[in-house]
Amino acid sequence: MQEEVIFVSSDILVGEVAKIKVEGFRFVTMSCVELDGNTVNILYHFDKDLTLKHLRLTASKDSAVPSISSVYFAAFLVENEIQDFFGIRFKGLVLDYERTLYLDEEVKIKPFCRYTLEKSDQKEPVTPKNATGS
């Protein structure tokens, strides 16, 4: 299956998504993949007449990514899911569960990250070992 994949940066992301919406595409979902300790790939999937189009954004784990939920409301759920699992923050999320969509408030680890980065002032820094084992 050959589909169109467009690479985008976070500063043009929302504009590109808005353009895609005007073209009549339906929002399908987003996928997040951890690349290394610092970066992730976020893929945005859209469909029009059974043809998929994807945007690919490489983002740093410690900087906020613009939310597309103001363009496609349906994206709020998957953005919250990515926040829970990967710890990525979404700026401008229309309905922000603040990492409690699936997780409890006290959970600090990012379950889908092989490496969980925590601030040094935290009492119990989480290591990769217990990040995947809990």
Binding site: V28, T29, S31, Y72, L77
Partner: protein, 358 residues
Amino acid sequence: MLKTIIPFGPQHPVLPEPLHLKLTVEDEVIKEALPALGFIHRGLEMLANIRDFHQTIQVVERVCGICSMMHAMCYCQGIEEIMGIEVPPRAEFLRIIWSELHRMHSHLLWLGLFADSFGFESLFMQFWKIREKVLDINEATTGNRVIVSVNVIGGVRRDLNSEQMRRILSDLSWVEDEVGRLETTLLSDYTVKKRTVGKGVLPKERALELGAAGPTARASGIAQDMRMLGYSALDQLDFKPVMEADGDCYARSKVRFREVLQSIDLIRQAIFVIPEGETRIKVKGRPEGESFSRIEQPRGELFYYIKANGTKNLDRLRIRTPTFANIPALLGMLPGMWLSDVPVVVLSIDPCISCTER
């Protein structure tokens, strides 16, 4: 007027699985609905990363029991695309037969639950009685009633002989007759219409905007059915999506009811033209690359993103299930509804929380 917040679920008589909605009401009219998830999240996507890519079939089959066959099929399709595997034609037809049987028993289960949601117990029992026959077919042809576990990468692990195909055709004739007998009750009964017509209306534009999927989208007049992609052997069968225009609970039940009959038709077509030949090929090597795989589950579009790195473990398996896509649509249906209509409207999207949370 003072606003009140009423919790709906996670335990509720109409919900087979836990979903929580915070309903803001004025008097007894819904003004806003907010979902809360996380009661049955199992981390199956994560488990897929630490299992061999062949073993992952068993993992994805357990995302949801009712549509386990479709999960495995979508996953295998994605891996086969990455590895450039050509599945034998007979296996493609067998996949369609079992997947449509799954759609039938899922829809019959839903039709029963839906009848139960507005208090029509005998209709509920009638639909479930018919469903048993479909489960009997599954058991006779695969050894299991629900999780049939027939998919492997490169084909299917079981075949159907001519006697089994004859039995399927004969049982489906019985199912068709029995379902037909219930048509008048489901679609013309005064009480059923009173509880479903004009309830939870989702206009076409709104359904597109909110990313609705499957029968929920088709009941709003959107011709969106992944079977139109022609995956497996569907490109060799005559298929047109079932659609309605009204976008209410009644339209959604009509779509699912007619899709049961459509699945019978697709299985018959497949049985009449299924070619002879092998049912699986031996798979060598390990996958490396990315794929986006889609099929039509009973509840709508199922989307798998697979990233493989050439080892036995996958880098990432991302599963987007149709109920996940239909939750924003549900939030769009509820405002303006009476509190007493909420169970019927919630059930009308055929929510599967096991799928949603994985």
